[in-house]
């Protein structure tokens, strides 16, 4: 990998108040990849994403995106650069309709990045199209996840940060979500995926980072990780 990474995180430390969650964390994502960050509850996965987006600011280390330093940008500014954040729990607006949720994303997002129109996004997600004028609160968990992803597309993104997209979803919906992630990737969108479910990572990701207690403890392709039973057992308590 000789090309410059799209997203590069170097020695980032971050936390909440006096509690340090990330310690000297480094990882990078190349353009066009699907990279997973997998680890147990409380390992620092979400904190990593929140640091990248700028919801919390790292106490040390640097984060670069397309070669530019984005360490100290806030969430609004990073999103305007073309990173989209699809948070855990989806955080769609429950009292806005599906269409309004998308319109809002259209007002925001990255101005310089090619984005989906609201119509295109609704074409892609059949269920949402049917429910375009229903309030967000009436959607099922899977539909909310679709809406959260559609929102990122309408805003325009070269890199989507997905926080536990399959959490709490029924198995057949998990498959739908995975299909969508692959489809997005085929359309040229880079994905950084945070997951507790290693099977989702192994199936989707080109490369995987394993995070434990705020540090990257392992990096490898899905094939390598799948073969490494010792690591899987030690850090995730699973056998693939």
């Amino acid at each position: 990998m000789s090309t410059e990474p799209l997203l590069d995180i170097e020695n980032v430390e971050a936390g909440y108040g006096e509690t340090k969650v990330l310690r000297e964390l480094s990882l990078s994502v190349q353009e066009g990849e699907i990279v997973s960050l997998v680890g147990r509850n409380g390992a620092g996965k979400t904190t990593t994403l929140r640091s990248i987006v700028g919801i919390i600011s790292p106490t040390s280390g640097t984060i670069t995106y397309r070669g530019a330093d984005i360490t100290d940008l806030d969430a609004t500014e990073t999103v305007q650069q073309g990173l989209a954040f699809v948070p855990e729990e989806r955080q769609i607006f429950p009292e806005l309709t599906v269409k309004e949720n998308l319109e809002l994303a259209d007002y925001g997002g990255a101005p310089d990045v090619d984005s989906f129109s609201i119509g295109e996004a609704l074409e892609m997600f059949e269920n949402l199209k049917e429910r375009a004028s229903n309030p967000g609160s009436s959607l099922s968990g899977g539909e909310q996840q679709m809406l959260a992803i559609a929102r990122a597309l309408v805003g325009g993104a070269d890199l989507i940060l997905l926080d536990e997209p399959t959490e709490g979803l029924a198995p057949y919906i998990v498959q739908d979500v995975m299909d969508i992630v692959e489809e997005l990737n085929e359309r040229g969108i880079t994905i950084l995926l945070v997951e507790q479910n290693v099977h989702v990572c192994l199936e989707l990701a080109d490369r995987n980072y394993l995070i434990d207690q705020g540090e990257i403890v392992y990096e490898g392709t899905s094939a390598e990780l799948e073969a490494n039973e010792e690591i899987l057992d030690k850090y995730l308590g699973v056998t693939a």
Binding site: T76, Q91, F93, L96
Partner: protein
């Protein structure tokens, strides 16, 4: 009969629409920015006065009226934008309760400005000829101005609704009131919309104020009287919900004007507070509100910091010197032949005790009571009623006051402490307003006349042993201490005793739990403490001391009226606590001294001293939230051995900082 009913219904809708316009701005401002704007009523008054000024300038006629209706809200809107930018904005990221404090300061400032510019008289907005007659319909004569109010109010409410529903701004604002951070995460700079929201809200309030001022007599106090129902409506409908503001506004308007006033006037003014309390208890997020993500609610209140600068022993000595100085006041006043300082001193000490009581619950458990005047009023009426009907011993009457206030505090605490932060502030306000209105209605409390102690004999003592202060005299050199001078010592004694009792409590295990709640309530819970029980106990202690302060308050005046429980008093005592520095027991005492010292100083120059006080308070909230007691700590690194920061007598303890050569 039916005609009257229709007329009353129309009156209710008319007032309801005014409320809708007020509450809509208030509610949306809260939803988007988490700011409870106490100054909203003052902005309405400002609009009304500007409109009058404009119509008088441009001649009274339809054109002038319409011009005023457009220009005045616009001007107030601009003022709103400026207020948001220069006072509200610096406080984002702090505990939302600071916004309550800030906007309370703004109430004092704007209210006094209105007095200063337009005087104290009441007025009615000159209406153009077309709107003065009546319109015949259904065999009724309906005032054409009422029709105008209903039509223009409805149109305005529709305009706001359309703005929220169908524009880009509206969508962003609606989304912001659900989840601000997620709006930011979508790449939208929501903070840029804050000024706009505040400005539009202010303009709406102004519009409401203007049309109301054409309907009834208005005066500078109008803002104080409409802000409380507006709060009730916002709470009722749901903080942040426009729909809630509309439904709540019409409901309260019709309830007040069409049902309570004509049919059960006795209950007028009380039902809405009962309703507000019920809603807060059963469904704190109101009829149409959504449960709010507790964003920013976890930021702590900023306690005063003075500890550590002086040795414990030095501080004790300073305290004793302070008590000594205070004890000399009546003697010096006697030597100078000026009794003013004795009555003034008594007043300051009563308020110092009241402020101390509030700080015990606000500074140590983080519960901001917006209705602490409830306990002042309870104590005051308990003493007066006790002395008139039950006993002639002042001590017994004071004990009654303490017991009654503590009991009511337990009940209020039992009901309210489950709700946190802003909701707690609102519910305490509702209880205080309920009591305040009750005082007007009850026979036994003498209604608005109040009750006097003149003509009733009472003595300081117990079981018949004791004497009236007027019958006792001490001779200190040429000075005779009697009556008021002795009462001064009673108050000083009560304050000193209360100080030491509360201090002892804070050093006990109970106090340690309170402090741990203040530092981090969650962790205190993890340690196995039922923090609600501890907070309630602190609230009861606070209520008891406030009741004592209330009793002394009534004795000092030998009179009590409902104003003892008005919400302005609750606000003023918060001002004192913040000025001095909350979370320290001497801070509020210093704050009370500074408050009245300032008043005394300023009334020499201007009758509108609240303007200056409010400005100082606003500056304190923005720049010095830890209060006067934190000044030496802040200055210590810069001014080694420098003089004390101010010549305020209340600040005596700071002078010893000259010793802190560090």
């Amino acid at each position: 009969m039916l005609g009257t009913a229709i007329q009353q219904l129309l009156d209710g809708i008319t007032l309801g629409l005014v409320y809708v316009l007020l509450a809509a701005g208030l509610s949306v401002i809260f939803g988007v920015m988490n700011v409870i704007n106490f100054a909203h009523g003052e902005l309405a008054v400002l609009g009304a006065y500007l409109a009058v000024a404009l119509t008088i300038q441009t001649g009274i006629g339809s054109t002038a009226f319409v011009a005023a209706l457009v220009i005045a809200p616009f001007l107030v809107g601009i003022i709103g934008v400026a207020l948001e930018r220069y006072t509200v904005q610096p406080l984002y990221g702090r505990n939302p309760l600071y916004h309550i404090l800030l906007t309370f300061g703004l109430v004092l400032v704007i209210n006094d400005l209105v007095y200063l510019i337009w005087g104290t008289g009441s007025f009615r907005l000159p209406r153009p000829g077309v709107l003065t007659g009546t319109i015949g319909a259904f065999g009724l004569g309906i005032s054409s101005y009422n029709v105008f109010m209903i039509v223009s109010g409805t149109l305005m409410a529709f305009a706001v609704w359309a703005l929220l529903e169908y524009t880009k701004y509206g969508l962003i604002i609606r989304a912001g009131s659900q989840d601000r951070q997620m709006v930011r995460n979508l790449g939208i700079e929501i903070d840029r919309y804050y000024s706009l929201v505040f400005g539009v809200g202010a303009g709406l309030a102004a519009f409401a104020g203007i049309i109301l001022a054409g309907n009834r007599q208005a005066n500078p106090e109008l803002g104080m009287s409409i802000i409380i129902p507006a709060f009730v409506i916002v709470v009722l409908g749901g903080l942040g919900s426009f729909k809630g503001a509309v439904v709540g506004g019409l409901l309260v308007g019709i309830l007040q004007e069409s049902i309570l006033r004509p049919w059960v006037p006795w209950l007028e003014g009380m039902v809405i507070f009962v309703l507000m309390i019920a809603i807060l208890l059963i469904r704190p997020h109101g009829l149409f509100g959504t449960e709010l993500a507790e964003e920013g609610g976890s930021e702590r209140l900023l306690a005063g910091r003075a500890g550590g600068l002086l040795e414990r022993e030095t501080r004790l000595k300073l305290g004793l010197v302070m008590i000594g100085v205070l004890a000399l006041v009546p003697i010096v006043a006697g030597l100078l032949g000026n009794q003013f300082w004795v009555t003034f001193g008594s007043r300051v000490l009563v308020w110092a005790l009241f402020a101390l009581s509030l700080d015990f619950v606000m500074g140590y458990t983080g519960l901001v009571s917006l209705g602490h005047a409830l306990f002042l009023g309870l104590g005051a009426y308990a003493v007066v009623l006790g002395l008139i009907h039950v006993t002639s011993s002042v001590f017994v009457a004071l004990a009654l006051a303490i017991a009654l206030s503590a009991a009511i505090a337990w009940i209020v605490g039992f009901l309210s402490i489950r709700v946190a932060g802003v909701y707690f502030a609102m519910i305490t306000l509702a209880f205080a307003e309920l009591y305040y209105n009750l005082l007007y209605r009850l026979e036994i409390t003498g209604g608005s006349e109040g009750l006097g102690l003149i003509g009733h004999d009472y003595y300081y003592g117990i079981a018949g042993v004791g004497a009236s202060l007027d019958d006792v005299a001490f001779f200190v050199g040429p000075v005779v201490l009697t009556g008021h001078s002795l009462f001064y010592y009673v108050v000083l004694g009560a304050l000193v005793a209360s100080y030491f009792v509360t201090r002892r409590m804070l050093q006990s295990p109970f106090g340690s739990v309170l402090k741990s709640i203040r530092e981090n309530e969650e962790r205190a819970t993890f340690l196995g403490y039922n923090t609600i029980v501890y907070k309630r106990r602190a609230f009861v202690v606070s209520g008891a001391f406030a009741g004592l302060a209330g009793g002394l308050f009534a004795l000092n005046n030998a009179f009590v009226s409902p104003s003892a429980a008005e919400w302005l008093k609750s606000g003023e005592v918060i001002v004192m606590v913040i000025l001095g520095g909350m979370g320290t027991l001497y801070g509020p005492i210093i704050g009370a001294g500074a408050f009245f010292g300032l008043e005394q100083l300023l009334t020499h120059y201007t009758g509108r001293w609240r303007l200056v006080l409010g400005t100082i308070f606003v500056l304190f909230v923005i720049f010095l939230p830890r209060g006067l007691v934190s000044v030496p700590t802040m200055l210590a690194p810069y001014l080694p051995g420098g003089p004390g920061p101010a010549a305020d007598p209340g600040q005596l303890p700071e002078e010893a900082k000259t010793e802190g050569d560090d």
